[in-house]
Symmetry: C2
Subunit: 186 residues, 2 copies
């Protein structure tokens, strides 16, 4: 009688890590299965295809962010600065990997042209992220200014991830974090 080694949630979590690190096309089903501790044949018990799996990974990321991360921007028990710091850290932990990967940026660049059906969830993530930042920035800026600042912060973050990958250091990333905070006050 077979014993269940993993849950679907564990597969999604581990797959997120691998995709974040290696990108989509450069990750094989064998890589994913091994990371989880299964053989690839077993993997298809949980998912029809690699494409489906990626989509579920992205959807689980989106749900987590919408439920656990973006609402921090509205937490009345924290100061605006504290909300920003907490939210940035929590967001980074989910979306970025230490070696300069980003599940959102990776997937946009690799897949949006090829699989247009991925647009929706990726846009949902980026829109949620933008709105959360806009809310924080609008404490000290007009709505239009806040929108520009939010977009600017996001674009810088994505660029910083790329630089981190190329130069192997977190310097750019830290600078970006600091500027995103500073924009609250100028």
């Amino acid at each position: 009688m077979p014993i269940q080694k993993v849950t679907k949630e564990e597969i999604l979590a581990k797959s997120l890590e691998v995709f974040r690190h290696r990108g989509y096309h450069n990750t094989s089903m064998t890589d994913l299965a091994n990371a989880v501790g299964l053989l690839k044949g077993s993997f298809y018990h949980y998912f029809d295809s690699k494409e489906t799996l990626m989509k579920e990974v992205l959807m689980s990321v989106n749900i987590f962010l919408q439920e656990q991360v973006f609402p921090i921007a509205h937490d009345p028990t924290l100061s605006v600065e504290e909300r920003m710091e907490t939210m940035l850290k929590r967001f980074s932990k989910t979306v970025f990997s230490k070696d300069g990967g980003c599940i959102v940026g990776n997937t946009i660049l690799e897949m949006v042209n090829l699989y247009p059906q991925f647009k929706e969830v990726l846009q949902a993530i980026l829109t949620g992220w933008t709105n959360a930042l806009v809310h924080l920035y609008s404490h000290t800026h007009t709505l239009d200014e806040a929108k520009k600042l939010a977009e600017q912060s996001i674009m810088e973050y994505e660029g910083a991830i790329m630089m981190a990958k190329l130069y192997g250091e977190s310097y750019y990333y830290k600078d970006c974090y600091i500027r995103t905070l500073e924009r609250l006050h100028k």
Copy 2:
């Protein structure tokens, strides 16, 4: 007696376009050969492998930028603003494609972890780009400030490319262009 249909330079130019648009892993040798007007068998007359081809594409981009684009930053016949504008436009035309692809960003994200030997040429491009911007910004800022502003502009550009791909508009990209110019004066 066989007639030569293409030159190596034409292959490099066409391959750049395709890689910029589709990324590395998502481009097949057939795609490349077709874009050039050959069959893939013929393609191997010019290049040992896809990897070699990509490396030569990147090296040709680097040479073009170092010789034809970055020196604009030092052109004494133009104002600092004119140098920046001309350089940004020329750089974009080489490196970015209309649909939100960037040969530099794409390749860093897809290949640096996998093929470390690509780091050198990619770093050469980004270092050249940084130095050119630093030179322009240092007319109105300290060297340290100029360096931060240059890095910030580059990171924003890379982020803007990603946003352009996701939302299918050049809005982010234009904003980024404007801010990169504005930073000359604040």
